[in-house]
């Protein structure tokens, strides 16, 4: 038996200062009748390496810089590559920028598909490449001092699993 074609293949990408509402984003993805699976991921602000070492002052804030113009294109390109590998319904990628307090929501990836395998894999794929290709940079503040967060080798390794 052949699968019915996915009717709604809309991609929604937003780079924004404002917070996002997980429930509302889920509802939007779940509204597609041909999709039997929705996988959502949210990333939160946590303490980063350098300034959060023992005896170091507490990190109080994270600032997210981005490359206006390129960021949205890079995210759209990553979603298109995911669509070429798996049959996907609606996909949402939201990334916040600017000053964010600890524990704030920073990123949302939501993928709808007919079945769970494609939705899980595509969400993982999108996050792996967002981490290595989307032009965002984190700077943390502790005790009035700022420090750029270093890229992690493990993120580079994670994106290689798809090649």
């Amino acid at each position: 038996m052949t699968e019915p074609a996915l009717i709604n293949v809309e991609t929604y990408i937003s780079v924004q200062h404002d917070d996002f509402d997980m429930a509302a984003e889920y509802q939007r993805l779940a509204a597609s009748a041909s999709c039997g699976a929705v996988v959502t991921f949210s990333g939160l602000v946590r303490e980063f390496a350098k300034l959060s070492e023992q005896d170091a002052p507490k990190v109080t804030e994270l600032f997210l810089e981005h490359y206006p113009g390129m960021t949205e294109k890079a995210l759209a390109d990553i979603v298109e590559r995911a669509r070429s590998r798996w049959p996907l319904g609606p996909v949402t990628v939201i990334h916040r920028i600017g000053a964010l307090p600890l524990n704030a929501q920073i990123v949302f990836v939501g993928v709808a598909s007919a079945h769970r395998d494609a939705a899980f894999s595509a969400a993982q794929f999108i996050m792996d490449f967002l981490k290595t290709e989307a032009p965002f940079w984190k700077r943390e503040t502790a005790d009035g001092k700022t420090s750029w967060v270093d890229a992690r080798q493990s993120d580079q390794e994670a994106s290689k699993r798809w090649s």
Partner: protein, 82 residues
């Protein structure tokens, strides 16, 4: 004149967000990097970081990419979003 943009820690290290460079048409990005260092010797350490990334017209590119006058070039450190 070609416009080159810098972001995040690289911009802080260089002390500027953008610079104009005069280069022959078709010069590679690697030659652009060498020219920037020749023009600004104090930038040598920051611009020689092996992990430095390059975008040409808002797309990731490699250092052998030939460049044109009207291209938007950006150099930046490894990304840390998500």
């Amino acid at each position: 004149m070609m416009k080159v943009l810098f972001f995040a820690s690289l911009r802080d290290a260089l002390g500027t967000a953008e610079v104009d460079v005069s280069l022959a048409q078709g010069t590679t990005a690697e030659a652009l990097r060498a020219q920037l260092i020749a023009d600004h010797p104090q930038w040598q350490i920051a611009l020689s970081q092996p992990a430095l990334l390059l975008a040409v017209n808002q797309q990731m590119a490699d250092w052998q990419t030939p460049l044109n006058e009207s291209d938007e070039i950006a150099l930046f450190p490894p990304v840390t979003g998500g």
